[in-house]
Amino acid sequence: MSEKKIIIIGGGPAGLEAAYHLARQNYNVVLFEKDSETGGHIKKDLRLFPDFADASQVRKELSDRIIQPNIEIKTGICINELVQEGNQWCVKSDNNTVVYGDAVLLATGFETFDARRKEELGYGIYNNIITSVEFEEKLKEGKILTTEGNTPQRIAFLNCVGSRDEKTGNHYCSRVCCVNGVKLAISFKELYPSSEAYLFYIDMRMNGQQYEELYRTSQQKYGVTFIRGRISEAAATFDHKIQLKSEDTLAGLPLKITVDLLVLMVGMESSLSTKLLAGQNDIRGNYGFAESLGLNRSDYRTKKEGLFLAGTCKRPLSFQETIADAGAAAVQIMDYLKSIK
């Protein structure tokens, strides 16, 4: 067993995956999670794209395998200070817990975009406009109903809410919303085959394995209709439906459509913890995400010796990419620990 200790901040997929690999190599790990349970955002998911894997099962596997004697899991603790003291790293929490370690892995993840910032889309103002996160939670409950308790006959999904958007200052693509929208549209059609599902997009970025096939299946098997255009405005009608204004940019025509439910595919933003801790260590990069040495140099190391990054604290990543990223970060940490006395 090594004497070296690694502090992992964040108990989502990246933190759990890295903790597992480090512990397997006999390092001591202290893992901090701000929520009462580990798992991060997949706690809210029913199924994962593109293979519709059971999200709770995936989460259980990730969580179960870190129950090891050399992993100390501290949940319900929010780290608000991260400082380097000589060769050691010190973290302090909101309840005055102080822990020292030889290396730190920042796995503080992302936060979903607050859709209220897009006022024109009416979220938080009108009923029957929800986010993709809320839609997924409804899926977990097994039914999708409007505020009035009716089954939606027509539903629309809108991609790129808070992503690729100059108005909100988020110029980047959140990478997962396209395929996630396809997944949600399929899930809806599975529940209500006779209902109509529309998905509004800028362009469909189906760049992962099996994504394109899923996109095709959604159209051929489930009859999801894809419309290339953003929604300029959503407003409630007299009969509690939502009127959408858009443009079908392929047909070159303005479009007005009334739906029972509008689902906003909210993008990823850097989390408060990422902004705070990256800021304290001068590694706060674009859009508040943590900055590594560089995509083409070392995407896991930072300019601070012993401070490493994994997962969506760096930029939007899919679940699969996050897992791969965390494994690679663990290798880099072990390499670093072997290089120091």
Binding site: I125, A235, Q243
Partner: protein, 353 residues
């Protein structure tokens, strides 16, 4: 609604408290001739403010500018002359009556902020053309901003409220904001582009209920070239119709606007649509009355409806006055200032009066 209010709070603006220089609109005195006089009366007599109504004012070029017949250099020089008139009156707070002018002035000031060389060029152009110098205003507020700002004080002086006297229910009011008030520079408006609060705040304060209908933010139909180019006028009517169709199910009691063009077109096009299609958007075949915010304020303060110009509306306003319980003499409706009868206008074929 709480969330909506939270967002409205994010778009607040500085509004001068007193000492205003008023610039009348080119078109409002023809469209709604009592509105500007009513505003001046409210400010001077109800609120005790100083406001200068200078007869030397002139166009801001707005309509010509937006129709591509006046170059921006000319617009800047003409706006600069208006500012110099304000300077001459010893004032720093500019109040353009027209929403188009409000947009133009903000655009000019924003241009000068980002391109100081344009400001210097304008100074030189004005000097060469008129020998005048000018300083930019410290504050530009639309008159609707000022009424909004003093809505609580005015409420204390009001004889009536926006309540149906028979049922005791709040009147349902469609508020329509001029595009150039909030859609060019969100931060220059109260409430921003999506949920402007300038008129909604007055309506709610004075007892009414704002109708939130799907086409609330849609253009009134004027749209400058939609109307100014005769061949495009069908678009103008079609846009107004879209709004009327959208608000109709909510049974609004009246429409209020802060823009000269919007109030005009939403009023007159109801007549046009009634004549073209025999359709009105109320239950009684008389149309939905359209008021300016000055008329709404004056009406609630108890001013004689015929003194504030309600009789020159296309859609007649008596049904609204009766709902609120406002006293008026029908015999005085077409009596001029001199006391002589001016004659009654011809009645439309389809739109009820």
């Amino acid at each position: 609604m709480e969330i909506k209010k939270q967002y409205w709070n994010e778009y607040q603006k500085e509004i001068a408290q007193d000492d205003y220089f008023y610039e009348r609109s080119c078109i409002r005195q023809t469209f709604f001739p009592g509105s500007e006089a009513t505003f001046l009366k409210i400010l001077r007599e109800e609120l005790g403010k100083k406001i200068v109504d200078d007869p030397k004012i002139h166009t801001c070029t707005g309509i010509g500018y937006h129709s591509d017949i006046v170059p921006f250099d000319t617009t800047m020089a003409i706006c600069a002359r208006l500012f110099s008139l304000m300077n001459g009156a010893g004032l720093k707070n500019y109040v353009p009556s027209c929403v188009t002018s409000f947009g133009i002035f903000n655009e000019v000031l924003e241009t000068w902020k980002h391109h100081p060389e344009e400001l210097e060029k304008t100074r030189e152009n004005l000097r060469k053309a008129t020998g005048r110098e000018f300083e930019v205003p410290e504050n530009i507020a639309h008159p609707s901003d000022i009424i909004y700002n003093f809505r609580k004080e005015l409420k204390l002086k009001m004889k009536y409220s926006l309540v149906n006297k028979e049922t005791g229910n709040p009147l349902k009011v469609v508020e329509h904001i001029g595009c150039h008030y909030s859609k060019i520079f969100s931060e220059k408006s109260i409430g921003g582009t999506e949920f402007p609060h300038v008129l909604a705040g007055m309506i709610e304060e004075w007892g009414g209920e704002v109708v939130d209908y799907p086409e609330r933010r849609h253009c009134c139909g004027f749209g400058f070239r939609n109307y100014l180019v005769m061949a495009n006028r069908g678009y103008s009517v079609a846009n107004s119709r879209k709004k009327f169709e959208s608000m109709k199910p909510y049974k609004p009691d009246f429409i209020v606007s802060n823009c000269p063009g919007c109030a005009m077109f939403m009023d007159r096009w109801q007549y046009t649509i009634a004549e073209m299609e025999d359709i009105t958007y109320d239950d009684k075949g008389k149309g939905i009355p359209v008021l300016t915010y000055e008329e709404m304020t004056g009406m609630l303060l108890g001013y004689n409806p015929w003194d504030i110009g309600m009789q020159v509306h296309q859609v007649q306003t008596e049904s609204l006055l009766d709902k609120i319980g406002i006293e008026y003499d029908p015999q005085d409706k077409y009596v001029g200032v001199s006391g002589t009868f001016l004659g009654e206008p011809e009645k439309p074929t389809n739109l009820g009066v």
